[in-house]
């Protein structure tokens, strides 16, 4: 496997990576989940994090976003040249980080349109759009994603199908145009049509914002139309392999067993947890 463990620098550029996760060890309720994880993503790159269930992939996304359900015991998260390890999620978002949730929440009483306006407020570009201009922009994005505009007047996530929830995640991605987006199982549970819409959304984001992507997935189908720069494999809370896009085909053919056999076992009392703690409660 080429380039294995060469992960502290954006490959090929020699430049400072946009996102640099170094030796990240994190736990929840006293149980260690991530163990010494390293990850470096350059500006505009697309990275894929794969691994079997329970590897800690979603936890990595949540810890990078600053989910307070996890304790960072060791290591750091540096984003855009700034150590954000102790920063709250809202400040990380404002700095240009984005996490698309595996299971987006429902918030009764809050219309989607009001939520989007609050999310955009104060951001350069979209935050400057007022009233009708903002609504027009949102409707354009909804059209682009084949999303019924009626959803914009509904309460956030309430009564949305799984596909509509993921479309709304994509709409936010396109609206906010973050510097780096972590897509946590965005493709899970989607039918072929919805998967196509999500893929289009990712393409549109790359075109419009030239943003970096960290795609957490089990499913290689969403990667078919994407240029993937690096692939990382997580097992039991550790990054155990890294390579170029050819690694995806290898995983597709042979699964994760080879990586699981090669990975060190968890120490007693340690575990890797796929489902974020907050969502599991």
């Amino acid at each position: 496997m080429a380039d294995e463990n060469t992960i502290n620098q954006a490959p090929g550029t020699g430049a400072q990576p946009l996102l640099s996760v170094q030796n990240l060890t994190a736990s929840a309720d006293g149980t260690t989940i991530l163990r010494g994880v390293d990850l470096a993503v350059g500006a505009g790159e697309t990275h894929v994090v794969m691994g079997p269930n329970g590897a800690g992939k979603s936890t990595l996304g949540h810890v990078v976003m600053g989910d307070a359900a996890y304790d960072v015991e060791e290591g750091s998260v540096v984003f855009d040249g700034r150590d954000v390890t102790d920063l709250s999620p809202d400040k990380r978002s404002r700095a240009g980080l984005f996490l698309s949730f595996q299971a987006p929440v429902e918030i009764p009483g809050v219309p989607v349109s009001s939520f989007l306006r609050a999310a955009a407020a104060g951001r350069a570009g979209v935050g400057d759009l007022k009233g009708k201009q903002f609504r027009k922009r949102v409707r354009e994005l909804a059209d682009e994603l084949d999303m019924d505009p009626a959803y914009l007047d509904r309460e956030l996530g309430v009564g949305f199908s799984g596909g509509e929830k993921k479309k709304l995640e994509m709409l936010q991605l396109l609206l906010l145009e973050p510097k780096l987006a972590i897509l946590d199982e965005t493709d899970s549970g989607l039918d072929v049509d919805a998967l196509g819409v999500v893929s289009r959304g990712i393409d549109a984001y790359r075109r419009a914002a030239d943003g970096a992507l960290v795609i957490i997935t089990h499913n290689t189908r969403i990667l078919e139309h994407l240029h993937v720069d690096r692939v990382h494999v997580m097992v039991r809370g550790r990054m155990v392999a890294e390579g170029d896009a050819s690694l995806v085909a290898r995983i597709d053919e042979h699964g994760f067993e080879q990586f699981e056999q090669a990975a060190p076992d968890a120490a007693p009392g340690e575990r890797a947890e796929e489902t974020p703690v907050a969502a599991a409660c």
Binding site: V105, P108, P111, F115, A118, A119, L176
Partner: protein, 454 residues
């Protein structure tokens, strides 16, 4: 009016309205939610500032409401649905609790339901009757009287009704002609500093007619006092009545919004209460679904901020067969606000095939906020369907994380909940004046509020 002076030594003198928003069947003594008292400055003068926008032809004469009740009563007598007047027990007969019912129509007998009901069945000479609770006895007495005037009630109860009617003076009467469609009227009550500014409104929708009435309780000028409305609605056979009441008072004001409905056969009444402001806000509504297949729906939206106290009481009483009722409340409580909402669906014997449901969703955006939701279903008929449900919750950690991941701090998240409620109220406001009131409140609470809804 049976108000009681209540003046602590060091405070300004006040009067108290007792038994306001009292539940018809008070069973929650331990939680102290059965009813509330409202203290008002004793020196409030009655000075209504009421604007009415309606075609002249839509304005009726005082007494139209009572006349409509009388006609309906006579019709029900003729069909055997009410006993003939000659054989009815006289009101106030020995042992008969006067109950809360009827105070609003007969006006100001001042009887508070709790006191009257407390007389109980032990004073009833009809000892061969099975033992009844105080509520059951009072209710049975009203039913036996066969009087719609006695049965009619408003949600806030007799004392508040009497206070508001006295403060308001001559009622505004909105009366449609049979079959009239598209009738619209707007009543705007504005706060007057140092005064009780109230409107008394009677809506009488004739058979087959349709009317929409918007009511705004607003305080465009600074000051303090009470602002209220006493509303009575008679919906005749096949009539449709739509009421939109919006309260946008600043925190220095007290809001008193009282309503009572009487529905004839196949009548439909839709009420929307939007309660956004006032330091103390009381909203009450009682509806009598008397005619077969009558329908009443109440949709309540509220917002609690700062230290505001909101109090609601809804009672929908099914008399007619196949009647339908729905209460839907949706609110946000922020800051150190508090809210009590009582919702009672009462299936009276004989309302076979009736269906009633009540649902409340409360989002509590601040740990200091206090919410009390009291759904009650009373059932005196077996062939009915009644449902209630409530979703009450603090904002969960995963919801806050989601909002934070989109750049919203906890403070911004709380503002979002307020903004969402206010924006919806502004966008659904029935007229520009009401919308202006919402915008004024919104500007006081949020930056750029008006700009965002433009």
């Amino acid at each position: 009016m049976a108000t009681t002076p209540a003046a602590p030594a060091s405070a300004a003198p006040t009067i108290t309205l007792h038994h306001v928003n009292a539940m018809p069947a008070p069973t929650w003594h331990r939680l102290r939610v059965n009813e509330t008292d409202v203290e008002l400055p004793a020196d409030l003068r009655a000075e209504p500032d009421v604007q009415v926008e309606a075609p002249q032809a839509l304005l009726g004469e005082p007494g139209a409401f009572e006349a409509a009740l009388k006609r309906m009563e006579e019709h029900l007598e003729s069909t055997g649905e009410l006993p003939p007047a000659a054989v009815r027990p006289r009101g106030g007969a020995a042992g008969e609790p006067s109950a809360s019912s009827g105070a609003a129509a007969g006006q100001a007998d001042g009887g508070a339901r709790s006191d009257d009901a407390a007389k109980g069945p032990e004073e009833d000479p009809a000892l061969d009757l099975p033992a009844l609770s105080a509520f059951q006895a009072a209710s049975a007495a009203v039913e036996a009287s066969g009087s719609l005037e006695r049965a009619f009630e408003t949600g806030m109860g007799p004392e508040a009704f009497a206070y508001l009617r006295e403060a308001a003076g001559e009622p505004v009467v909105i009366a449609t002609a049979p079959g009239q469609q598209g009738a619209r009227a707007a009543v705007r009550v504005r706060g007057v500093d140092g005064a009780a500014s109230a409107a008394a409104v009677d809506v009488v929708a004739a058979e087959g007619s349709e009317v929409s009435v918007s009511i705004a309780l607003d305080s465009p000028e600074p000051g303090a006092g009470a602002v209220g409305c006493s509303l009575r609605v008679f919906a005749g056979r096949d009539a449709r009545v739509s009421i939109a009441s919006t309260q946008t008072l600043d925190p220095a004001w007290i809001a008193l919004d009282d309503a009572g409905l009487m529905l004839d056969e196949r009548a439909r009444v839709d009420v929307r209460h939007t309660v956004l402001g006032a330091g103390r806000s009381c909203t009450g509504l009682a509806g009598d679904l008397r005619g077969e297949e009558a329908k009443a729906a109440v949709d309540t939206r509220y917002l609690g901020t700062g230290e505001r106290a909101l109090d609601f009481n809804y009672e929908l009483r099914h008399h007619g067969p196949k009647t339908e009722s729905a209460m839907n409340a949706n609110g946000v409580l922020a800051g150190a606000s508090s809210k009590t909402l009582r919702g009672t669906i009462d299936f009276v014997r004989g309302c076979k095939g009736a269906n009633g449901q009540e649902v409340e969703t409360v989002l509590i955006a601040d740990e200091r906020a206090d919410n009390r939701t009291v759904p009650v279903i009373l059932c005196g008929e077996d062939d009915v369907a009644g449902n209630h449900g409530a979703t009450i919750g603090h904002v969960r950690s995963e919801q806050l994380l989601y909002l934070a991941s989109r750049g919203l701090s906890p403070e911004a998240a709380e503002q979002l909940f307020l903004r969402a409620t206010l924006e919806e109220a502004a966008l659904t406001a029935p007229d520009d004046a009401t919308r202006a009131g919402v915008a004024r409140l919104g500007r006081a609470l949020l930056d750029d509020f008006e700009e965002e809804i433009a």
